[in-house]
Symmetry: T
Subunit: 151 residues, 12 copies
């Protein structure tokens, strides 16, 4: 039974409470519930964390090595400058999918650049909470594909 | 029954024939077959076109107004400079999802910039042919969500 | 009796149908009617075309050599990157006036740059459909002025 | 009876006397006479000033509020850096049309940028003294259009 | 009785101990005492914290929502790159005033840019410890003004 | 009895009359009255001027040498390019505080740069008319501090 | 008997008719005749096309796969921005030689950059029509060399 | 008897009074006296002005046409941004020599750029007050040389 | 007996486990053992820490003041953006030597810039684990040199 | 009998000995032999030199004036920064053809810029040693063309 | 017995004679003596040269091939622009260590960039003359390590 | 009797022979004769050299220490990139005056930057051969001034 780690970066705990015009009405709790249900449907184990701390996120990524088959990460603001998170993803080697709730290419110039993207498998941006489900489906597809390749 | 237009930009007709290390082994015919099957499964109508011509793509996008509920586009090389395609998407107003087979953020610097992204609903990048299925699912979700909002 | 070619670039066929807050309510048909009437008033022949295709526009410009005394062009999105259109204007040598419906300097940064301006006689920007009439008047004045100079 | 203020910026008093290869043979006196005649023909009041002083131009623009329906301005060299003139146009709120004798996009790189353009209605560039007549016609059209809109 | 949260960013605990030529002789304890006295004088509650950790600062800002009427923040080095802190300020929505002990525009080029400024009410820079008092006074004025507006 | 010169740069005479959404409802006369009252309360002499002319502002700054203990300046648009004003501040040597009504870091990119800041004591930005009072208080504090240092 | 495809990009059909000071007196017909003669001399088959359309050029390049041993291309204005043509060259995999009539490094800054060069075997620039003959000779040499390598 | 106009730009009236470490001890009066003496020795008429106003300097340059054979100008801060002064020099056509007291290339980056230099005969920078004498000698030499060329 | 603090930044705990082609086979434990042995040989006390948290590293640097004579730091990813770490080094004033396992100038462009270098004594880059020994030797030499200078 | 000078820049003496994957197997001696043979076949005199010294290359170019009809130069690394070599080519006025063994546009960014190209007749890049033969043929063609033009 | 070539670039012969505040008091003769002693201690042969000529340094590097096991180079000013020296290091293939007396990252912006670093094994910067000893030790370590790897 | 070294950089030996439209008709021999005469008139010893080699110029500058009181240098093309020459001027410490025959600010962009200017006393640009005389006069004035200062 495959397993994924889902990481919500800084300020995502505020989801659905403020700036709803940008981020929508869904709370993080609701999002996580929907995501867990989807994981169940796909027969995946899922572990979800949220942290405002760059260092904690780095450590969580490192710890995924050996315990998870995939990382789904929304690095929030760290997307744009945390080379430490980038290096952690590269160092742990677990396939990682980058998710953004909003279409980051419609927002401020500095949000167009992701330092994490070059070490991720792929990126899903602009589909709101559903983007996490898309990422999970992609992980499922990816693992199947990898399995096929290896067999 | 909702309908989507799928647009494959320049050189995507070469898919699976050359540069397989970058773009994979799947041919465009195979990709389209899988995509049509998925549409059928979701009860969507689907129209698929490929063109090497920027002007033809612009016209196809304009024609989607009134005949399609969604556009799924992989603008290929035009992603990076075709303001004409960008303007067509904005002008026709049909919700558009941008797909890239490869993770464009792992490739040459000039491929990191999409002039189409700011007028798209969202972007899916790096998941190979499966990215089109993800876009279709997102379109389905989006239309449901919109319907809910409007009712 | 002098003659002008009027070229409407990509997406201008959508005029008055969508994005009216930016481009206004006048349709391209209405704009062309007003322009033809103005040409009649000035005793000018007028030929009008619209194309979404960069190549077609290039060819139309080349064909103006020997058949028209002036080109009035709104290159739309191609304004900002079509060096092919720029080269065509320089190559055919017919005096060319650049028109933009909107004030391009009030819009996105990338619309501030016209690669066509340096090979045009002049530029009219921000006066809506009336800008074409201004360009026609300028062409009329220009030809008179040139005639005076040559006599 | 509508009224316009025409502002000639620095060094335009030298018109027709030097650098004729760039700016032409017409003197400022001749240009102003032609412009006054055109205003008479359109039944407009016209006030014309020239100044080398940025501060005087700022004050003149401020004073147009309440006394003129339109400003036609050729800010000369100040076009490229006078944010004070830009702010004055925005502050007084009188519709302003920017005119340049030469095609500024054919000249030095630093002349391609107008800090005034983003707060102007539109820009006319490259038609010599006739550009002022074009601007006056545009003002006339604009006022009519606005009147129509408001009625 | 209104309440403010004061956040001292990284290395501000070293104040008055080292680099006195740049940051002056006052220690953080002395600064906080003066600030508390000023708050008392204005009849404000005040909570003061210092942290070297970006994540802790993000969390503190989030927690201000519902418990404080204003945040006064000197983000120290994080001023220049912490989009996470910027996003926290925008997410919590509590009016925030940015303070810098030194005039950051007299220092290294990289200190001239504040990523926090665009989401703050205003910025006070260069007045040493007294800048915090100025910020507190401004908060007091601001709340009064807001109150007036709302009544 | 200490004395300050207050300089309002170009277009600040329009305050409260236009663009109220950006600059607020207070007129310059009202602002000056409040500022004079505050000076009286602090036992300061105050001289206030407004000018649209860069040269006049330069001269006023020079004249402050020997007659004022502090300059409070809102250079308006000149903030962003007047090296002449910068040099005047450096040349006269009177401590200068820079004030901006709006938070210039929330506005157009070109307003983020102050050429005056590096020669000022400090900067207050975003607090509306109250920012001048803050500057006056800072001047008072500064003079006291300087006096203490010198004694 | 080896075969080459020669592609003339936009506006090259105007060769020898206008802008002779830049591009010389030779017409495209004369150039093609000389090139065909040279091909005959080297015992090469040759197919020559000219198009103003980016899409047509992309398709022509794709079609060279399996029918030609070499492509000689002068992409004209498309040299500087057509990533679609670049991708077509990379996708079809036929060795491609880039030719420019003029020395593009002596002309406008924007002509110094070729997006096609990094996927071409080599570039010949500045030798007028003779540059095509040089490219043909190089293709001949290259094929010989490749043959030698393979045998 | 040839004649020169000497223009001292903004803040040069402060010479010798403040910032002596940068600009030296000589006052403007002393500098002018030395310069007048040198002019006398060379049998030149000399007119000297100082202004803080860009507009006044522009007008003074225009007025030199017909009354002076040479302009020696130290544009002070305007060196770096006054395109109006640049245009005045180009418009009046009187040979102009640019002088700077300090070596502007040893100072802040923004002082390295002179917008006036491209329209001046030459530049003398870094020799203090003696630089004006050098400029006068150069003017004398230049006029002799020009006379020789013309005879 | 002199003492050094050795700080390993984020992801260095993964050393020798992953990305061995870039970082080599030595684990952090082995590296630390070799470093401790070298310290013993030089008669230095040594304290070694690793952290993924920027804030913890900042605090550790501050704490070195008074307890260590030298800091040897490999800031990992933080090298390229942590101004907080830079400021901590400057604030604590303990001589600091920067070490990188790899030659950062052979890697991605963004790794070429160290914000820490300008406040360090020196930098050792590209020598693998041995670089730490070099840094320790340099610290030893430095302290000797400083001692000599002070005596 | 026409004559050419062939200049091989720095490190070209290492040709065929090292970095064969980039520069190929041919040694400079072999290349020169092939080139001499080709010259003989075209009835040209040829002089060949190699130098690692920028100054020697400058002098050699200067000496070509009066003794050679053409220069064929591969400036090696100096291509990218030696303005001295550029100026020598412009100063001596002998038609110069620039050759590069590799396609410099496929290599590091800094190799894409040739400071020599703007003063050369043309450039041949990417054809290995055969590029020199192409240059010689072009020189032969050029001289014939020039002769024709002059007769 | 392994052998190293030590290359001192331009102006290093002035060491200890001038600019002692930047480069210290040690003369090149003293530095070389210390370095030779260290080499003796490690049982290495050492050859030391100094040259102001880029070409001579290029040639010396080339000559190291076959005669030295390592190059220790301080390229002085050439560090920042000599692509010729960079290419020589890459061409000869002898492992090269780059040394700088000063911490180049604390000096002028243009000294932060080393064009030599990407082809060197590693860089030592900021440790004064001792940096050469560090480089020698690293070479010794490197050779041992390489030997181990190869056996 | 004071002494100056005059250094002519690369290609200045071609003076008066070629590119006369840019550099004038005077040969280097004539220029040197006039300069020697001027030195005689001022009672200065003078030594003049010309070299195309950067290394020779560096050495010449170093050798001026102890034998000359001033260096007058026209670094030619090396002006724009030779940090080695810059460092030599800084290292030898002899006051250096930079001369350019042409006004380098009227020429190509890359000639506007002098890396030598920041270490020179001053710069004279645009006065042709007479610029050297101006520099000599300045040196004479400078030495007198320095003498006065020291006495």
């Amino acid at each position: 039974m495959p397993s994924t780690l889902v990481i919500h970066g800084p300020n995502l705990n505020m989801l659905g409470q403020r700036e709803r015009r940008i981020y929508g009405l869904t709370t993080l709790t609701e999002l996580n519930a929907a995501l867990s249900a989807a994981a169940l449907g796909l027969n995946w184990e899922i572990e979800i964390m949220q942290s405002n701390s760059e260092g904690e996120i780095v450590t969580a990524i490192q710890d995924a090595l050996g315990s998870h088959d995939c990382i789904i990460i929304n690095p929030g603001a760290y997307t744009h400058y945390s080379i430490a998170i980038r290096d952690a993803i590269a160092a742990c080697g677990v396939p990682t999918i980058e998710v953004h709730l909003t279409n980051i290419y419609q927002r401020e110039e500095f949000r167009h650049k992701s330092v994490v993207a070059p070490v991720s498998v792929g990126q899903v941006s602009g589909f709101g909470p559903y983007g996490y489900i898309m990422a999970l489906n992609a992980a499922n597809q990816l693992l199947g594909a990898t399995a096929n390749t290896q067999s």
